[in-house]
Point group: D2
Chain length 402, copies 4
């Protein structure tokens, strides 16, 4: 359980830090301008393309990808890099092609896709020439309980026919999102966790309708492809578009979510550090009633609490990464649940305090705090509400499993 | 300290409830349609006008106004009505002409305006033929500390010349907002709380520029006039536009804020009751892992905690209203501070739990929860961050002042 | 819902305040000396007797008793008096004969006892010539669930035979506690809430063994009769010692607990005010690192939060009392549950902060804080753990029952 | 930053676990009996002596001592051992001679004592043939601010004369505590942190009076020597009893407290694990209202939260130990402050929930929970109230120091 950074990690961390300082932070206002110039478009903005080019040149590409085709880092090595990308949530993950949900989809395809599927979808994703979305959540059922999924995937001849309604398909508003990985039930009579399958559905498949974009709080998250409601009305795909085997959908989803959760947590720590840096600047530069904010007891208390939370949770994230690297995602289940619950809410609290330090400015568009707060809040529901994980973790704990 | 509803209150409460059921709730989707049809406009939508007509016919107009020209209710009588309007934050306050910031501005004008000022501004505000904004917060200073205000109001001949930058001027994006009440310093050499004055500035005054709209957690709050940044660049108004006397700005602002705070709290309780009603519906209609949400321990705990908070804080709000009615706003200072701190954060917590019960749907546009949560969060900063009030309340408590 | 103090309440409140100032507070060190002089005895100390004499002379006797034989106050009238007694938990309730569990036992006897039972037990209790204990909790079952009670009360001829083990029988270590009201099952085949009965058992009944005193944290609570474990080993009492009817035990217990809970809450508010007064004195008189405690942000915040909690919860207690007076204990169930949950934990938090302000002194014997904190903590379990009440309250809320 | 257990640690951990299972846990009831047999004595009980003999035989002696004379472990190696001793706070630390305050005093003496002082005091402490106490806290000043210390140490010829009043001298009620290390001011005109000195004062020194024992939430903590108030009334010791140099008292105190704090935290984690194990047993064996506690949502939530807290804070404790081992106590200041704040309060919360699961039994003498809760609560004040550390940590954070 050695959490020290090895030489390669240190080198990449320095390189990534330079990339942030030299290219990404200065690009944020360019992104704003490009978004403002074409307010109705959902596609990837030119500045992101430019940064992607630079990232590739700097060797900062597909950092999350533990196996071939990526940077080949362990989760433990990736952790500090992912955290750094959390300092610029709008640009850094996209620039390094480490952005959800594409990163999770890439993991899935690398693990389960056929050679043909890889050629068709994985290769362009690794190259960022297309984007993708993951279609799991449904409006009409509690999707944290996969047995309730209502979307149906039925075999007809050499095709699968998909019918159902999905929403919160992140990234799907981007027209470059050519691939939808759709989870549905292929056999409702099979055992509970063998009923689900996944199919690869092209954006242009007849029967696929992008119904509308959704907002998180008031944000449409246009800068990373938004969140779509999608109707699948007897959409037909070749049988060869099945991902993995029939009935393996639940297991594949579980396998996909573990890394996804830890990546969210790593980035969230970067969000928190960023917020704390902003607070520091504000608290040193403002005063109320004759006392500098940095000298006020309550604000000092908040800063101390933030530091304590970040330090302890970062270690837990690192331990989780180390467990995933050494004993596998399944054996790291308890820790993945723990960080999935603990990190987003701690970061939400840190951001909430940061907003309070910034006053009304903290609610608005001039600082990233409100947007980050909305994102951290959403993480408490992403991949299932925290309470589902708390219940599972508590159940295991009371059985004496450890 | 009798909190029972008297006959008049009960009658108006029933009347308002009918108005909500018959007219306002059904109108919400019409508002959505009208907003969608003209996405770039900031003006009052036709449906609001229609509801205002109905409200007047039903005798539900200017309910907040304790003195002449309004419904003539006490704060205690108004409390349950304001709470009811919190069930439809987008329509009910506007329909009954009880919407912030106009309600506070009307209070101010009624108390301090000259006859001419009343004729020019108060009459149309009472009639809802114009709207108004209150320009206090500034981007460059901690505006909770009124002594830091940077906007200058200088006398030149028979004019006042205003220069400064204001933001979070709620309602000001609405072109019907013809009146801006601007707080600034008219004499920086006067004692700390005698430096400030207020002037009435017409929207069309040369030198007044609406710089941009602001967002609260991504929401532009277009349905009630948004929040503007406004530049006053040597804007000139006749000397007769001074509200009250020179140097009385601070005292008038304090006087304005007391009622404003309690109105926010009353409506926030309605928001919480509304959220709880939504939770009830959801919890009875959904299940996860074979157990109905309403039968799950954690959700029951949330509902119980919400009920406890609402019941105890409603009583504190009523006591505050009763004190304002009987001994005056100044003597109710402790209680006003207490509810200003306690109600928004309790309601924020109730809404946060409600979002969690709704899952991803709670974050999005199909339910009012995310929008209400953003609004409750913003209340913790409106009229000064909670911490300023906590410090003042604690200071008084430790002096033994009760 | 009028919470103003009427003339009688005001007069009694003033009278009780004088009694506290003149007699009770000065008597606290005498109690300490008398306890130190006879460390192994459990009986009522002479100073308590003296104060009881004074209380009777001052007309401050049996204040809690709403019906005949007592002061004849409503719950609403009693509330501020009970709160005042919370300023001296060791002496004031005992001095005024308003001490748990005797007060609850008196209520029970007055409602359900036969004339003979009243003559034998109620009269001396009203007179404080004896004391009593209530034997409900059992070591082997979760006693919040009355259907689990293991003590058996069986009829044999004209006797009842009681066998079972009880503990946390408050007051029972005092040899003057001549009466034990014992809850047990008389018919295990009856419907769930008709199985229980109560019998009156004299301390000297053969088969009754005081097993040992218990401690709450490290306190033996010797000053009010301690808490006993009691073994009933085929203890026989005349059939006429049945209280109420067979099978009515559960209903009687419920009836007893409502007033008991609100009395606890009223006194707890007095504990909190007392703590806050102590904090005020400490904070004004000490400094650390050059800043007076009263001027430190975190301590101001605690004081403000305490004031907010006390003000809002006091109102909820008053509303509960008013409901009990006007519509009855049953109809006040939601509110009784709410205060039972909310008041002790708020007071625990206030006391916890007060201890922190006092530093190590707050943990020890020189201030009442640690002892009060232990008492407030115990209230979260008395009459059932909070979670049982939270679950019931939440269940009702989610049914839409209001 | 490698937190894996090395071979030596693993071997000692196994050995210590066997000692606990074989000897210590079975001895707890013997301690109870011995305490009950001689309720008025403060000395070390025979069973502790017996266990000490066994510990020495097993090579489990002075485990905490990093340097010569002890087990020679690093802090990182000691951490899991100290945690294990937290499973039996009454016996394990004493049995292994790792008990506060002797362990801290031993550290001090080893670092600063002269050869003669070592021979006289350190040798018997290492051997457990005497015990010791640390006299820092004073009743009349906020002792977390060392500049306020009122005790005076004045040089007269070849003697130091000590006058002052100390309390919370842990262990000092034990007559075997032959050594008091007393902190006082030797030069009030020196710079703020150079005014303090420490002297070694024998228990039998004329002028030393043990005034009284103190209680922590009613516990006299007799099993580890209690907490004494001590009066030093011109107590005279030879000048050679000065520890370190004049004016070095503050620096020595700081040096002493770092390891003391981390040891408290390590043991506190063991207390939490112990509590959780007790909860597990209770939750599996009880039911209320027909549902096993282990299947109730709220209790699962508590168990999950406990696991999350323990896992994340243990890692932070290990990191702190590793920093102390590698870069020194001074460089680990931030982390020591962080765990000092975070661990006791988390453990307090875990114990509070555990008490709630146990119901009234959790408050009493049959389970260690109430006693552990009192101990954890006291830790939030030991070595200075948390708020002092929070303020310092927050101040550093807002300076950008990291």
């Amino acid at each position: 359980m050695d959490f020290s950074y090895d030489d390669r990690t240190l080198a990449m961390k320095n390189s990534l830090q330079s990339f942030l300082d030299d290219d990404i932070f200065p690009a944020e206002h360019i992104l704003d301008e490009q978004l403002a110039a074409t307010p109705d478009e959902w596609g990837t903005r030119p500045i992101v393309r430019d940064l992607q080019t630079t990232a590739r040149e700097r060797g900062l590409w597909n950092l999350f990808l533990t196996g071939e085709g990526g940077a080949g880092l362990t989760n433990l090595q990736y952790a500090p890099l992912a955290e750094l990308t959390g300092w610029s949530m709008r640009l850094a993950p996209a620039a390094t092609n480490c952005m959800a949900p594409d990163s999770g989809n890439i993991d899935l395809l690398q693990a389960y896709a056929t050679e043909e599927q890889k050629w068709r979808w994985l290769a362009p994703l690794l190259d960022a020439s297309i984007r993708s979305s993951f279609c799991m959540t449904e409006p009409d059922v509690a999707s944290s309980d996969a047995t309730q999924i209502a979307t149906r995937i039925r075999r007809e001849g050499d095709e699968y026919v998909i019918s159902g309604r999905k929403w919160w398909a992140t990234g799907a508003m981007n027209p470059e999102a050519e691939l939808f990985i759709v989870m549905g039930k292929s056999d409702v009579d099979a055992p509970r966790h063998r009923q689900q399958s996944m199919v690869l559905v092209g954006r242009d498949t007849p029967g696929v309708t992008i119904v509308r974009p959704l907002t998180v709080f008031g944000y449409d998250d246009r800068d990373h492809g938004g969140h779509a409601e999608i109707l699948f009305d007897d959409a037909r795909v070749p049988a060869s578009n099945l991902l993995g085997g029939e009935g393996e959908g639940f297991a594949m989803a579980q396998a996909r979510l573990g890394p996804g959760r830890i990546h969210h947590c790593m980035r969230a720590l970067g969000m928190a550090e960023h917020a704390l840096a902003l607070v520091r600047g504000r608290a040193l530069g403002r005063e109320t009633f004759g006392v500098r904010l940095a000298d006020q007891g309550v604000i000092r208390e908040w800063a101390a609490e933030a530091r304590i939370q970040i330090e302890s949770l970062r270690l837990l994230v690192l331990k989780t990464a180390w467990l995933m690297d050494t004993v596998g995602n399944r054996q790291a289940m308890t820790e993945i649940q723990a960080i999935k619950i603990a990190v987003p809410r701690a970061v939400q609290q840190i951001l909430d305090h940061a907003v309070q330090v910034f006053g009304a400015a903290g609610l608005g568009p001039d600082h990233p705090l409100a947007s980050l707060l909305a994102g951290a809040r959403a993480l408490r529901l992403a991949d299932g509400p925290d309470e589902v994980h708390l219940a599972a973790l508590g159940k295991a704990e009371l059985k004496g499993k450890k």
